[in-house]
């Protein structure tokens, strides 16, 4: 994705975003509401047309997508098994393997509407990994889950990555949980404010200006062995974000 901008009317949601993701990488996009996170994902799957810039995909790239929310109309009957076979039918064995991988082996015969929130998201995950995607995209996939549920969900994602070697791109609000599970974090606010390893971003002044100090402590909970400070760059001004980030990254 190069120099990508997206505008809705006069409102520029994304401004010259450069972004790439490589095989086997877990990248998380964080950012406040309205920062263009979801728009970025939509641009990637082709849901919105960029006003400038372009999206380049490896030829034959298979994308697995887990939406933020899937509201099933009550009039639409749907078993888990049938849902997994959309849009392409899959064999019973393939479906079962995907459900096992996603951590919900026993739900195949249930109606989608009978699942709990956690089970539902895992079934969405199972469907997304069904055709062994090269890139797995998750749009706030843990929005309805409590913290242990979300943490378990992300551990599952890490395992899936380990087993299949796919790249994972996530958008999330669960800052600390998500960040601890990522190789790289991108902090987005219309443009890319800063990016780097979770520790670097958590220490970046821009990130702290957006999310406050509190998140760092929580991050430390999940990554004890990386829990130390990265130098004095604690200013909270939002001027020249990129330079400060680079500095923070260099300090690390």
């Amino acid at each position: 994705m190069k120099g990508l901008s997206v505008s809705f009317g006069a409102n520029r949601v994304l401004d010259s975003v450069d972004f790439r993701i490589d095989r086997g990488e877990i990248v998380t996009v964080v950012g406040p509401n309205g920062s263009g996170k979801s728009t970025l994902l939509h641009a990637l799957i082709g849901g919105v047309r960029p006003s400038t810039g372009s999206v380049r995909r490896a030829p034959g790239l298979r994308v697995g997508y887990v939406p933020q929310k899937l509201s099933l109309d009550a009039t639409l009957p749907m078993t888990v098994r049938r849902f997994l076979g959309l849009p392409r039918r899959v064999s019973r064995e393939t479906a079962q393997v995907a459900l096992d991988h996603a951590g919900v082996p026993g739900v195949g015969r249930l109606q989608m509407s009978a699942l709990s929130g956690g089970q539902f998201q895992r079934v969405l995950l199972a469907r997304a990994i069904l055709e062994s995607p090269d890139l797995l995209i998750l749009d706030e996939a843990t929005a309805g889950l409590d913290q242990p549920g979300a943490a378990a969900f992300y551990r599952r994602i890490e395992e899936v990555r380990k087993e299949t070697g796919c790249a994972v791109l996530m958008v999330s609000h669960d800052l600390h949980v998500v960040m601890s599970a990522s190789d790289r974090v991108i902090c987005l606010n219309g443009h890319i404010c800063c990016e780097g390893t979770p520790e670097v971003v958590a220490e970046a002044p821009v990130y702290r200006a957006l999310f406050g100090e509190g998140t760092k402590g929580a991050l430390a909970l999940y990554r004890h062995h990386h829990d130390h400070h990265h130098g004095p760059a604690h200013g909270h001004s939002h001027d020249g974000p990129t330079e400060q980030t680079r500095k923070a990254a260099a300090d690390a």
Binding site: I45, P77, T79
Partner: protein, 273 residues
């Protein structure tokens, strides 16, 4: 065999019900009932235009229904809420159609026949159009079935799978226009939506998958068409409305059975607990 008007009427009703039932499931799942109404009401304008221009009624009704459905699909999400937009379009089209018909002094037509259908007057030619249209709709919906289902579930899910949800919407729009055109003779423009959504709603409580629901809805639709025809013949009642009455009663029965079943299973779970 086709010389008997009852045989022709039965075949016309069955053909329409077969095409309407699976499409009606999508109308229900996507909450497009009012959309179907608007398309159907617009068809009366098409009827008036085709009579004025001495064109086949099927063609005129279908073209205007198609234009209506496309305009509504394009306009939706641009300022007005969908139901307001459909309310304006549906009733304006119906009113303009009725006024247009009144200008046609040289043709004496029974407007009731187009509002409520005239299934007993179905000719061999009509039958060919009805079954041709029904086959086309079934082929379209069958061909796009999975893509339509995914687009109905979630547009982003569809895009990620390489499906363009707007194209699938177009497939539905086109199918709807065809069904409206073929159903005019059978139940008339005012009752077409009933043939779309009531069989689907009747099938819902007994369906585990979308395919079962579409299949059951077809069975319900065909049974209603056949039963309605018989009843209207016995009791000398208007045929189109009788068919809709039969399917409405089936819906009530289905709802009652579903409610009873739910009560039983709830009692069973609380008993075992």
């Amino acid at each position: 065999m086709l010389d008997d008007f009852m045989v022709r009427a039965t075949l016309a009703g069955v053909g329409t019900a077969l095409a309407a039932a699976p499409l009606g499931c999508f109308v229900v799942w996507r909450r497009m009932a009012y959309f179907g109404d608007a398309t159907a009401h617009a068809a009366i304008l098409g009827v008036a235009l085709s009579l004025a221009l001495s064109l086949p009624v099927f063609a005129g009704a279908m073209v205007v229904a198609l234009v209506m459905a496309t305009v509504v699909a394009l306009l939706s999400g641009r300022g007005y809420a969908m139901d307001t937009l459909l309310g304006v379009m549906a009733h304006s089209a119906l009113a303009f159609g009725l006024v247009a018909v009144s200008f046609l002094t040289n043709v004496r037509i029974d407007i009731m026949a187009y509002l409520f259908g005239d299934i007993l007057a179905v000719s061999r030619g009509d039958l060919a159009v009805i079954w041709g249209g029904a086959a086309l709709v079934l082929a379209l919906v069958g061909w796009r079935w999975s893509a339509l289902l995914v687009s109905t579930l979630n547009p982003d899910l569809a895009r990620a799978a390489g499906i363009d949800p707007r194209r699938e919407q177009l497939v539905l729009t086109l199918s709807l226009a065809i069904v409206v055109a073929v159903a005019i003779k059978v139940v008339g423009v005012l009752l077409i939506t009933a043939l779309l959504i009531i069989p689907a709603a009747t099938a819902r409580p007994f369906s585990r998958t979308p395919e079962i629901m579409a299949g059951l809805a077809s069975v319900v639709g065909v049974a209603a068409a056949w039963g309605g025809l018989r009843l209207s013949y016995s009791f000398d009642t208007p045929t189109g409305p009788t068919i809709v009455c039969v399917v409405a009663v089936m819906f009530c029965l289905s709802s009652i059975v579903a409610a009873l079943r739910e009560g039983v299973s709830r009692r069973r779970t609380s008993g075992s607990a």
